[in-house]
Amino acid sequence: MVDLPYSEIARYRLMLLIRRFEETVEELFSRGQIQGTTHPCTGQEATAVGVCAALGPGDAVTSTHRGHGHFLARGGDPNRMMAELYGKATGYSGGRGGSQLMADYALGFLGGNGITGGSIPVATGVALAIKMQGRAGVAACFLGDGASNQGTFHESLNMAGLWKLPVLYVCENNQYAMSMPVRASVPIADIADRAAGYGLPGVVVDGNDVEAVQAAAAAARARALAGEGATLIECKTYRLSGHSRGDQRRYRTRQEEAAARERDPINRWRDRLFERGLLDEAADQALRAGVEEAVRDAVRFAESSPYPDPATLGEGVFA
């Protein structure tokens, strides 16, 4: 799916795709087309795309409960993703996983996670394997500001620090963990500063600037490939949507949200592309139409796909 090697326009298109995908999913949920729950990453497109743009095909990515953007940025097929949300047999997990649990190992995308902080040790172990196998590669581990308070964060970064593992810990600080503002859950200004406790470099980056994210990730990746170990990259961003569907957002003001919308990462990238002469209105419209069409296709694909046969329920628990 991805127009490798993530040209400026490709990154723009991916960000649009993620945005449109998430908006559509929210609509479908509120129309009752999709069951369960979902965590939209609206507003955080630049972190997903910036990091994935810095990765190579042999790298691995672990994601979170808010993982659609990570997956799309890594090349996930919107059709199979949407089908998974619908609980259809054609979904990435045949409908078993839903929003939080889809993966494509061929793409090096090892899946989201229903457990906040649950993927941090897993990514660390992936990096351990990469190192043991002598492969050139890194593990990119997305995690939230809230997840940085889990014990697994500490334990994993410690192991990465000890063993100089090739990991990029990408903390998407979107200012909230569900309803908890980061200032109420992390008593320091920058989560990146926690890296020092593990002998790792910690970097703060504007998470709404796709180029800045990409540059930080590329530098961290180069460092990891050179055998110098892991980096913690804190991407300051904002979750424009609610935590999950049904969130009344009583814990923050609409003004705050409006101010955050001014810093929308997609608009910022668009403006820069315009400035650089890489994009004009017509091209922008065409890209948007294309993305719109891709997401519509995904919905059509999902809706026309069959549900899994209940008779298969018991299959595949064991290898």
Partner: protein
């Protein structure tokens, strides 16, 4: 008495106990402004302040441990774990601290801690947001376990739990939150631990269930009555202590027992109930004790798969019918 929902009943219990005892406080993720993922604590932070309705960071292992420490120091923490699926993170603190302190240190150690947690499927939340791991804690001496199925029991058992001097695991169910029922208004209404609830009397078969499955079993009994079969439905209400006496008495009369639960079949609560019943009423039984439970697979998100996985009134009625007719 008036009809309120299970959620309101829980909130009423919390409100009354927060008011009654300055030592009671709530802690957990997003329980203040957000009111918890299922709204149980909505409005309580406004009413009692952020000290007594304390939002925690996402640190299940340690905020449960902190609740242990607070409990040992004279407080009565009521902790919420947002989904029981996450309780593995706090399992060590429950197992090796909360549950053991009294036995080891004697009366000087008092650990009046309640751990409330939503459980169960039916909402297509998928493999890591639908589990009910209560059976693990049945195997941990020193923990009490309540799992109310009605609004009245939700209120009465939660109040008992908060007033109890032992650690209590308090198991709620997502499908129950919205259900309404009569609940006493009396601020001293409590429901004792260790007494099962006969949800419906009957003579032909005993159906034992707990949590949401008690509701489904009652509905199954209605179906069965249409076919001339009078099923006695017993809701365990508390799993520790387990009211084996009521089960034994019923089993002796009906001579047939079906145990229903929503969780994975192997190693569930029903296994223990089955084993105890066989030990105690073997000679009265006309058929082997049967278990109806979920198959041994993670619970899938897809609606038809989730539906196929979980027992419901129809599959319960069918299993009961087979047992009665098979005799």
């Amino acid at each position: 008495m008036r009809e309120i929902s299970y959620t309101e009943a829980l909130r009423e219990a919390l409100t009354e106990e927060l008011r009654r005892d300055a030592g009671v406080f709530l802690m957990g993720e997003d329980i203040a402004a957000y009111g918890g993922a299922f709204g149980v604590t909505r409005g309580l932070a406004e009413q009692f302040g952020p000290q007594r309705v304390l939002n925690t960071p996402i640190s299940e292992g340690s905020f449960v441990g902190a609740a242990v420490g607070a409990a040992l120091s004279g407080m009565r923490p009521v902790v919420e774990i947002m989904f029981m699926d996450f309780i593995g993170l706090a399992a060590d603190q429950l197992l090796n601290q909360a549950a053991k302190l009294r036995y080891v240190y004697g009366p000087q150690a008092r650990c009046p801690l309640v751990l409330r947690t939503p459980t169960g499927g039916g909402r297509c939340y998928g493999p890591t947001h639908s589990q009910n791991l209560t059976a693990w804690f049945l195997h941990v001496p020193g923990l009490r376990i309540a799992a109310p199925a009605t609004p009245a029991d939700a209120k009465g058992l939660l109040k008992t739990a908060i007033r109890d001097d032992n650690p209590v695991l308090f198991v709620e169910h997502k499908m129950l939150y919205g259900r309404r029922g009569d609940v006493p208004e009396d601020a001293d209404f409590t429901v004792p631990f260790g007494r099962a609830r006969v949800a419906r009397p009957g003579t032909d078969i005993t159906i034992v269930a707990w949590s949401w499955m008690a509701v489904e079993a009652e509905a199954a009994a209605v179906e069965l009555a249409g076919q001339g079969i009078e099923a006695e439905v017993i809701d365990l209400r508390t799993l520790a202590p387990l009211d084996i006496g009521t089960l034994v008495e019923s089993a002796r009369r009906t001579a047939r027992v079906l145990i229903v639960e929503e969780v994975n079949r192997t190693g569930g609560v029903a296994a223990e109930v089955s084993a105890q019943l066989v030990e105690q009423v073997y000679e009265y039984l006309e058929a082997p004790v049967r278990r109806l439970a979920a198959p041994d697979v993670p619970i899938p998100a897809s609606p038809p798969l989730e539906k196929a996985m979980l027992p419901n009134r129809h599959t319960i009625a069918r299993a009961a019918l087979e047992m009665v007719q098979g005799a």
